[in-house]
């Protein structure tokens, strides 16, 4: 059982309240679930379906489109090493090989202590800083083999408080009090914008 915890259900209701239709909160809630468990469990997806009023299959249909939602257990740190052209020219492949050796796993695998999952990724848009990698989507630039080992040691020793565990989007949670929310009106209930009304197309 890994449905959303009671605390997270409360947060979920606040998130749902920001949208004119509950269904629109689907992706933020998937992030919430991934933050809770490190990946998306079936139970959490079914729970989200109940919360926003769609079937579990529809939740899965949406979630499975996105690479960054993980359906399987992953390590606390997701290490994405770029091997696309710029990084490749600057030693990305070698860095990946070094990482495989250091961590003792192949891309797609997780270390036996459950700390690291290694992924070989395409361009992550930091070509000027090649070779680069991400840990839980936080960048590490111009990284050398020694730098990589240092990074791993720091993570193992808990010295990188700037990198939260996999699934956490931000360390500070957005909170919008109810009276500060804007625009929670269903599109069909909104007044026709003037420029459309003036053109006489607002009757639709």
């Amino acid at each position: 059982m890994a449905r959303l915890t009671n605390d997270n259900v409360e947060i979920a209701h606040e998130i749902i309240g920001r949208y004119p239709r509950p269904k629109s909160a689907l992706i933020p809630l998937l992030h919430l679930a991934q933050e809770q468990d490190g990946h998306l469990t079936d139970e959490a997806m079914a729970h989200i379906g109940e919360l926003v009023g769609v079937s579990s299959a529809e939740v899965l249909g949406t979630a499975s489109f996105y690479e960054m939602f993980k359906m399987e257990t992953v390590g606390r740190y997701m290490v994405n090493i770029c091997t696309n052209i710029s990084c490749q020219l600057r030693g990305g492949e070698e860095l990946l090989a070094h990482a495989e050796k250091t961590l003792g796993i192949r891309p797609g695998q997780t270390t036996s202590d459950g700390l690291f999952t290694l992924e070989d990724v395409e361009c992550i848009a930091a070509c000027t800083e090649a070779p680069c990698l991400q840990v839980n989507y936080r960048y590490e630039h111009r990284i050398s083999n020694e730098g990589f080992d240092q990074l791993v040691n720091d993570l193992r020793a808990g010295r990188r408080s700037d990198i939260p565990s996999h699934g956490v989007l931000a360390q500070v949670r957005q909170h919008i009090p109810e009276d500060r929310r804007a625009g929670v009106v269903a599109p069909e209930d909104k007044a026709v914008p003037v420029w459309i009304a003036a053109a006489g197309e607002g009757d639709k």
Partner: protein, 891 residues
């Protein structure tokens, strides 16, 4: 739609392949082309669903004034001056290219694929596709096939991602349990893990799949399309009357498929209907008659069985000591033959096709009628006052769902608990069982709302009342029994309240058994004669064709069972009926069956009641005999024979004729057509039916027809019209014009009328009026006892009935017996969801599993009829208006 429907006024002139055609306003190019004779190939487009333009197969070159360009013809509406070329070199290149793409990952396992031979992908590749593939890479491989439900299997390799099944599930059935997942390069259709596609409509996805990706577990590897012989017929699982095709091979029924007719099913079927094809070939079918000897029921010769059957009837002490139950699963011809035998030869009126679980015949036949199309007409308002249509009449649910979701139809539901349609209703109120009429009177504005009525809050009542009050025209009512633990008089009183407040209201009876309407129309109810006339009014009309006539109105099923229990019934005849399972009060049924001196049964398979019979005649069933059937609307459509009946079993009308001959009266029937001809000649609402059917379409014929009866006195061109009987729609007014002399051509001018030429003997005297409905004004429900729960006994689609249990694929789907309670009740009762509880009435108790259901109001216990372990019918007493139960924790 026929071409003649096109009018120049709202038509749009477009040019398709150089020929100008007139399209309807807003018509899609693909439809306009097909209607005017140009088929554009397609996979994803389906005429009963919204277009999505997924497959790109229907690309054609379209010029709307900006030069020709390829456009998907399923996504563009015809506009004036549009030019489309479906055969240009560019169009052909596009079609060829799309097919090459679709085939890139298609496994081409056609030789072992069930779809091979009737596969749109195969056919269109032959017609429009490339001769060979340039794709040399490895194709995708996936596990084949995976079950996505108990009935449907999915082969993902074969899928071309047309979105038909997923759109059907979401948009038509409202069960979005299958979806595209892993969208992108690895898109596939699938369910959520461990959450199967458990929709009552899942079989439709198999039918509309344009490749062999979705297959039905009942049909896999059973036959090849080119070996199939096909006949159109009408589904006999429930009384909606969906048009179907029956496919057989080697004289064995292989499958049913939906046929698209506008007034009823739009091509859809429910799974119970579709997979009831297995019932025909069930091993439980009787292939020879059985008679009881010392060792039990044993096979017998027909002459012995029929002899014993006739002798038993002959030896009955009086006509009143014969009781007949059942007949609502027969053809109209079968029902008429039995009706003629029991009422017209043996003169008993103790005949009832319903088993105490329907509505009185005068209500079904006498209330102003609405068709399904009228109920679902855009912008209308419908009051649902009956069973859960999703569970009992699933395709009517689909029509109502479409009406509510797409056609702005307002649904207002009055039911003792929430149902499958509650989420679609504009307002839904759940009155305490037994007190529905009070709530209906308040909704109609007859009584004022000063607070809670029958457990419904004033706020909810106001919401429902204003939804009804907002109706711009007459409202329609879907009327039936919401709960078998509640007397039918509650429903009738509610209908009376509606009609008193709004006399222009029309009704659609939500009765369940396949031809129950036809059985009532054929007189299989106390006080009725065939053709929707009462015994009193019709006795004279029938006196020349029927040798005898009951002297007084007889007993209904409850009355027959009571009389039998008291020893006043010598012969109890069961026409395909199982009162032990289906009568709401199992104890009374048991006493009745025990009390009857002789029990005779006619059935296609043994059921718990016919196992107790002294003689069982083996009857031919669905797909094994021709005939006609009448659906809930009063629409008559044809049933066809596709296979030979098992063994020596034969149609009911033959059995009735045989028994009658042994009793010394020739019914005069040698073929089903003879029976139909007699019905068409004498049964008032069915006059001229045979002609109308012969001229009619698969849509069937809505009764009563407007007919002119011309009594023919000579054979000249000039017809002497002695008597012109015009039957008006409600049957009440009968216009008799005597001694009018007219030329034949004059009669032809009467538009919309069918003439029948009869001789004097057929039409003796003036036609009797149709059955009138008798209102019930007041029902008094017992005071509320706060320690008790009011029982609601409703049906689920799958139960322990013979039909479901004879189909191996459906039998395991029956949910089993439960009691559903509002979770707020758990604490005070000390029960928990999933635990066991004892549900007790004065006469019996059952031990069942507790289910938490917020859709059940507080103070109500909801149970399912005819399930294994813990029968709700043990708890119900037929003489009580509403059943009250106590609930205790099971030790």
């Amino acid at each position: 739609m026929a071409e003649s429907d096109v009018t120049q006024i709202d038509g749009v002139a477009v040019e398709i392949n150089g020929v100008e055609v007139i399209a309807h306003k807003g018509e899609l190019l693909i439809d306009a082309a097909e209607r005017t004779g140009t088929y554009i190939p397609r996979f994803c487009y389906h005429e009963r669903m919204k277009p999505v333009g997924m497959c790109r197969m229907c690309l054609v070159e379209v010029d709307t004034g900006r030069g020709p360009a390829l456009q998907p013809s399923c996504m563009i509406e015809c506009t004036p001056g549009m030019k489309a070329d479906t055969e240009s070199a560019i169009t052909k290149k596009a079609q060829d290219g799309i097919l090459e793409f679709l085939l890139a990952n298609h496994p081409l396992d056609c030789p072992v694929c069930d779809k091979g031979g009737e596969c749109p992908l195969q056919d269109q590749t032959m017609a429009y596709g490339p001769g060979e593939s340039r794709f040399v890479e490895e194709k995708r491989h996936k596990e084949k096939p995976i079950p996505i439900s108990d009935l449907v299997l999915l082969d993902r390799e074969r899928c071309i991602l047309c979105d038909r099944c997923t759109r059907f599930a979401k948009d038509v059935a409202g069960d979005p349990l299958i979806h595209f997942i892993h969208r992108g390069n690895n898109t596939e259709v699938n369910t959520f893990p461990d959450e199967p596609f458990a929709s009552y409509f899942s079989g439709n996805t198999v039918q509309i799949c344009p490749v062999g990706a979705l297959t039905a577990s009942t049909y896999r590897f059973k036959a090849r399309p080119w070996d199939l012989e096909t006949t159109e017929s009408t589904c006999q699982t429930c009384s909606v009357g969906c048009r179907i095709s029956i496919d057989s091979s080697r004289d064995q029924v292989q499958r049913f498929a939906g046929v698209d007719i506008d007034p009823v099913n739009w091509g859809w079927l429910c799974d119970k209907g579709r997979f009831s094809s297995q019932v025909v070939t069930s091993e439980a079918r009787l292939s020879e008659p059985l008679v009881r000897d010392n060792s039990g029921l044993v096979p017998a010769k027909w002459s012995d069985a029929l002899g014993r059957f006739a002798t038993a009837l002959d030896n009955a002490s009086s006509a009143q000591s014969i009781g007949v139950i059942g007949g609502s699963r027969l053809t109209n011809e079968d029902a008429y033959a039995w009706s003629k035998l029991f009422k017209g030869v043996l003169a008993t009126d103790n005949v009832d096709a319903q088993l105490g679980d329907g509505l009185p015949a005068h209500v079904v036949l006498g209330l102003p009628a609405a068709t399904i199309d009228e109920v679902c007409a855009p912008g209308g308002t419908v009051l649902l006052l009956g069973p859960d249509v999703k569970e009992e009449l699933p395709v009517l649910f689909l029509r109502l769902r479409h009406a509510a979701v797409e056609d702005r139809v307002t649904l207002v539901e009055v039911s003792p608990r929430s149902t499958g349609i509650t989420s679609l209703a504009a307002a839904s109120v759940h009155p305490r069982p037994g007190e529905t009429a009070d709530v209906v009177a308040a909704l109609m504005g007859t009584t004022s709302i000063n607070g809670e009525i029958a457990g419904v809050s004033a706020v909810e009542l106001e919401a429902a009342r204003s939804a009804l009050a907002a109706a711009t025209g007459p409202i329609t009512v879907v009327l039936g029994r919401a709960s078998l633990a509640e007397s039918a008089s509650v429903t009738v009183a509610a209908a009376s309240a509606i009609l008193a407040a709004r006399p222009d209201t029309t009704f659609l009876s939500a009765l369940r058994r396949s031809n129950v309407r036809g059985a009532l129309d054929m007189g299989l109810a106390p006080g009725l004669l065939p053709g929707r006339v009462t015994l009193e009014d019709g006795a004279e009309w029938y006196s020349e064709v029927w040798p005898a006539m009951p002297s007084a109105t007889g007993l209904d099923t409850e009355g027959i069972l009571r009389a039998a229990a008291d020893g006043r019934i010598d012969v109890l005849v069961l026409l395909g009926a199982d009162p032990l399972s289906d009568f709401p009060d199992a104890d009374l049924a048991e006493r009745g069956l025990t009390g009857a001196r002789t029990v005779l049964a006619v059935d296609t398979a043994l059921n718990s009641s016919s196992k107790r019979a002294d003689v069982v005649l083996a009857a031919a069933g669905f797909a094994e005999k021709a005939g006609t059937t009448t659906n809930i609307e009063g629409r008559v459509s044809t049933l066809s024979q596709r296979v030979t009946p098992p063994g020596t079993s034969r149609a009911d009308w033959m059995l009735a004729a045989e028994v009658s001959t042994r009793l010394g009266t020739d019914l005069g029937f040698e073929s089903f057509a003879d029976v139909l001809a007699e019905i068409s000649a004498v049964a008032p609402a069915y006059l001229a039916l045979d002609q109308a059917i012969a001229e009619g379409s698969p849509d069937g014929v809505l009764l009563p027809l407007d007919v002119v009866v011309i009594i023919d006195e000579d054979d000249d061109d000039i017809v002497i019209v002695d008597e012109t009987v015009t039957v008006s729609e409600d049957g009440a007014e009968v216009d008799v014009t005597a001694d009018v002399v007219a030329e034949e051509t004059d009669a032809d001018d009467a538009e919309g009328l069918i003439e029948i030429v009869a001789d004097d003997s057929d039409v003796a005297g003036s036609m009797p009026p149709f059955v009138q409905y008798t209102p019930i004004d007041v029902v008094v429900s017992p005071p509320v006892d706060s320690y008790s729960f009011r029982l609601v006994a409703s049906r689920k689609l799958y139960d322990q009935g013979t039909l479901v249990q004879s189909a191996p694929s459906l039998a395991p789907l029956a949910p089993g017996s439960t009691v559903s309670l509002n979770p707020w009740e758990f604490d005070r009762l000390g029960v928990a969801a999933g635990g066991r509880a004892i549900v007790r009435t004065a006469k019996a108790s059952v031990n069942v599993t507790v289910q938490s259901d917020a859709g059940v109001p507080r103070g109500v216990a909801a149970m399912i009829v005819n399930q294994a372990d813990g029968r709700v019918s043990d708890l119900v007493s037929a003489d009580e208006l509403v059943a009250e139960v106590r609930i205790e924790t099971a030790p």
